[in-house]
């Protein structure tokens, strides 16, 4: 079974109506969905460490995340360190969304043939903070890359650990992210907590 956990930092339901990302909208209408809650301050590292079942120490992260060990997943561009961790490793502040999406998509499509994959995209959040890219254009690029990756997987979780930037500060975002998945959640009338995402992926891989 090809299982994919992919997180796109900064992706938010609040731009779905305006930008109409077609693939994400179709997932929204056809998969299990939820709202990820993550109170401020939110950083790439602290948020992803929670997903991967690790504590945030504030020190450079070392070692293989628990979730990757438990599932045997290949890591691709996971922002628990800077540069990111995995077979694609990029300097977070230098990321350009288009390049990142190309590299991550290629690595994910290759890696899914070998087993589960955990992948991250930080470029949307970085470029929205920079103000260097039109938001709906960025959503369209993300949407198109997700279509390729998700269609190559049998089971998936697409999530964002937090929403769009709310201030110039890199740790201030909307407190709500997205969750779209083939995995049902036990209590759909509750928000999705970050560690729950890791547990759901573990369950999905089996």
């Amino acid at each position: 079974m090809k299982a994919l956990l992919i997180g796109v930092d900064g992706l938010s339901y609040t731009s779905f109506m305006k930008c109409n990302p077609r693939f994400l909208m179709s997932l929204f209408g056809s998969t299990f969905r939820g709202v990820v809650v993550n109170r401020r301050p939110q950083t790439h590292e602290s948020s992803w460490l929670s997903v991967l079942g690790m504590d945030y120490s504030g020190k450079p992260n070392e070692g293989v995340p628990e979730l990757a060990k438990a599932t045997g997943a290949t890591l691709v561009n996971v922002p628990i360190s800077d540069p990111t961790t995995g077979i694609v490793s990029l300097k977070i502040h230098e990321v350009r969304l288009e390049d990142e999406l190309n590299q991550v998509t290629e690595a994910v499509l290759e890696s899914l043939n070998r087993g589960p994959v955990i992948a991250g995209i930080v470029g949307l959040d970085v470029e929205l903070h920079r103000g260097s890219l039109d938001k709906c254009k960025a959503y369209s690029m993300v949407d198109s890359a997700l279509r390729k990756m998700v269609n190559a997987a049998d089971e998936f979780i697409v999530f964002s650990p937090f929403g769009e930037p709310k201030a110039p500060s890199e740790s201030e975002h909307e407190e709500y992210g997205i969750y779209l998945s083939t995995v049902p959640r036990p209590s759909e009338h509750e928000t999705v907590k970050l560690p729950e995402i890791g547990l759901l992926f573990r369950k999905l891989v089996g």
Binding site: Y13, T14, F28, V35, Y176, Y179, E188
Partner: protein
């Protein structure tokens, strides 16, 4: 005149002052979506001939899709009161209007519900009802 303290009168005054402050806050927020609860819901409806209230919850993904539409309309129609009620935190308000699914947007005229829209709908679906209420 007696100078003795009257606890009952003081309590009434405190309540009145709180109500006036709440009304004042609501009036200052033209163009914004006001967060409503049992403290300010009734006064909000009293103060706005036409009001639009969005019932939502934290776990409700479509509510987040709809939310920017409501915010945009609030800016474009400052003469209308726009509010939002967290249904989980204010079940008594949601229950009063029979809100069974989220998001639900209820339109009020003179404090009475006159129309509603359920689900994350495009701006036009809400705006057409709003214009009709405003007689445009």
């Amino acid at each position: 005149m007696s100078t003795e303290r009257d606890p009952e009168l003081e309590a009434l005054l405190r309540k009145k002052i709180k109500q006036m402050m709440s009304e004042n806050r609501n009036m200052e927020k033209g163009g914004e979506v006001v967060h409503l609860d049992s403290e300010n819901f009734d006064s909000f409806l009293r103060e706005h001939k036409i009001a639009v209230v969005d019932f939502w919850a934290e776990w409700c993904a479509p509510c987040f899709i709809l939310s920017p539409v409501i915010e945009e309309l609030a800016k474009d129609y400052p003469q209308v009161g726009f509010g939002k009620v967290n249904s989980d935190q204010n079940p008594q308000i949601a229950g009063r209007y029979g809100v069974m699914s989220l998001p639900t947007v209820i339109f009020f005229r003179d404090g009475e519900p006159v129309d509603e829209v359920i689900g994350a709908v495009p701006r036009e679906e809400i705006e057409i009802r709003l214009k009709s209420l405003l007689g445009e």
